[in-house]
Symmetry: C2
Subunit: 199 residues, 2 copies
Amino acid sequence: MSTGHGLRLGVLVFDGAEELDVVGPYEVLAVWSALSPMKPQVVTFSRDGAGVRCAHGVRLLPDGDADEVAPLHVLVHPGGPGARALATQPEHLAWLRDVRRKVPLLTSVCTGALPLAAAGLLAGRTATTHRASVDELAALDPSVLVDTEARFVDDGDVVTSAGVSAGIDMALHLVARLESPAMARQVRGELQYEPEPPD
Amino acid sequence: MSTGHGLRLGVLVFDGAEELDVVGPYEVLAVWSALSPMKPQVVTFSRDGAGVRCAHGVRLLPDGDADEVAPLHVLVHPGGPGARALATQPEHLAWLRDVRRKVPLLTSVCTGALPLAAAGLLAGRTATTHRASVDELAALDPSVLVDTEARFVDDGDVVTSAGVSAGIDMALHLVARLESPAMARQVRGELQYEPEPPD
């Protein structure tokens, strides 16, 4: 599936993934891919390549399965009710530990931090998650230093974000880190991401 | 497809729709649906019911075709490169004019305003679009009063939003208008939509 030699970023999809956890970061990274001379590749994948039904019913067909999209340099693990389920599945946790050995930068959105924690990948690390799941994260691994204030936490080879929409901010941070703050500003301009939510 | 008697909101999908234009509003409206005692229904549809390939490659399978999801009370028309193409297709414009006769509230995200304008549905109205497409909107219909500052413009039976991510703010406004500002705040809290994009 690889068509280049640049950075490859993969957004994992699964049944019960929160729609905006998937598409917020994907949109940011895809616009980066379109604008950047680095031509990063951004793909979606499910572990077995099958289509998925997201948390609120959107059905997605991914670009491929985990093997087809490898090697990845960045993994985005969305959250949602499905992520909570994955945090209890030994086989998913074993897969994540294998991913950790191969993929330099692991990132999560919202409750995507829960399976990372359950796999032991956040042990002793600073991390964040949806504000409603902070206790759950701490219960899965009491050694995680949970930052309840941050929009996202960059702890080097693992970056976690707060709830749902925070994945957009985290993805802009990834663009700034992996290319430049100027490119992140350009992507942000393209998305006209100057939010003014109604009070 | 209808399973209730409440409000029905439909998000149109098509080839070349911008991913976040679709999923930003969908996420807001779906979380509203999950939280609200009004139990609004939120569906995705393509005009013919077929799956679509979005602007950056995400493949979506909609809930149904235009007839299956009718009657709608609110239409969300996303933008993206595909919307620009739809603005030149007489058959899509005729469909939109028919929709206007049936659907009380038409909304657009980003360049979703272009087909609305091309169909004559914004004539003499105040509206907005992606900042890069303001001239294009004015060229399609010089009688449109383009607000280049607004995040979204509520002109009664038509609500248009600025570029891409502005669809999230517009959808929160729809929740506030169609139910209450308190409910919109609750949805916003669930999405943890307190953006802090990196500079």
